[in-house]
Symmetry: C2
DNA sequence: TGTACATCAGTGAACGCGCGTTCACTGATGTAC
DNA sequence: TGTACATCAGTGAACGCGCGTTCACTGATGTAC
């Protein structure tokens, strides 16, 4: 039966948000539209009233995950700056935290879906590329602010982001919890210096 | 019709090798057994004479990819050492080469399948973990040999490997070739120093 | 404000399709004598 | 070495199932007067 416009828009947002989480947890092929719509509190038949196809939802869900991730990064940066703490250290520690590793559904979309995205034609890589530029830009600013006059290589932020994504990905793909922790800690130490107190 | 034992063993190896490439290219869910067996020159019906299930083949294909990758790393290290070149630089340059990025099917199994493996129960992560230890061990040796007395942090090789895997993953998930190259170059510069000539 | 009707978000059954898996069958291979 | 027969790798049709997608239908919503 019909619902009012506000409810319909909220339902649509719920589907996109649910999809952005379930895709990260299970991969694009790991969750069907029927189960996905059910998880959003709807039935599967109405899907095509809101989306052109599953690929259409995939694109929207990735946009959503990319955007909310960027917002989260900016919030972390702002809070650290206001507290007078190192912004880079705050970003790195939050990203390489076991909690982030365990919460795949709400975590970094690159560690969860970049390999799937690379297999999905040029449209997703375009979106992911824009996302990388945003994240690397935030990192770059944090690195230059922390370096206090020392020179920071042009694309050092890209290398740092690669380290973060790679460490998160690898730490999820091992069985031993202690070893997973070592991977995260090694990456953090490499990015922040041995003591982990780099500005 | 029946084939002789040697042929049967070769067919089995062909299926595993074909699977290890196609899984890397398309993901575990991206290729069906029928197409996969066809790519190996067989029909799908015989699959269960050689494998217990698709998951069984997935495990074998990952083992195969992990092993051949490790062999390739060791060969690169040995050749560089014999030529008197920096082993770390040789490993990093080869890994972060656009050619490696483009050849997903024969390339690094972590960049291609680690996210899928993390979703696949504890068996695959056990294998991937052993693989990481092998690769990180080779990197560790190369870093200590190149450091010539300087101290190398305990798990610096784990951080370096994270950087490599992350950079390869991200460079595959962007649309612009020039930007993809920048990611690879930034990671190499970060690992080898600005000039890229670290021992 | 109240009535009449068109709209359309959501429902649930149905579609064809490819999936992983099973099975009866084939015929060259391997073995026993 | 030659013959008789059991073995079994590989074939191709068939299985049930869940997938993405379509569709006739429902009934509250939105609109026109």
């Amino acid at each position: 039966m019909r619902v009012n416009r506000a409810q319909a828009e909220e339902n649509r947002r719920t589907v996109v948000e649910t999809a952005s989480q379930l895709f990260r947890e299970r991969g694009f092929d790991g969750i069907g539209l029927s189960e996905l719509m059910g998880a959003a509190g709807l039935t599967h038949g109405g899907f095509y009233k809101q989306f052109k196809s599953k690929d259409d939802l995939i694109a929207e869900a990735c946009d959503r995950a990319l955007t909310s991730g960027a917002i989260s990064w900016r919030r972390t940066a702002t809070e650290a700056a206001e507290a007078g703490e190192g912004v880079l250290a705050a970003l790195v520690r939050r990203y390489l935290d076991p909690t982030h590793r365990d919460r795949v559904g709400t975590g970094c979309v690159f560690a969860a879906l970049a390999a799937d995205a690379a297999r999905h034609g040029p449209e997703l890589p375009r979106r992911f590329e824009a996302g990388i530029k945003t994240y690397a830009g935030i990192l770059d600013e944090a690195m230059r602010a922390g370096a206090a006059g020392a020179d920071v290589a042009d694309d050092a932020a890209l290398a740092a982001f690669s380290t973060m994504v790679g460490a998160l990905l690898l730490s999820r793909a091992v069985d031993d919890e202690a070893y997973a922790r070592r991977i995260l800690d090694a990456a953090a130490a490499s990015l922040l210096g041995r003591g982990g107190d780099a500005a």
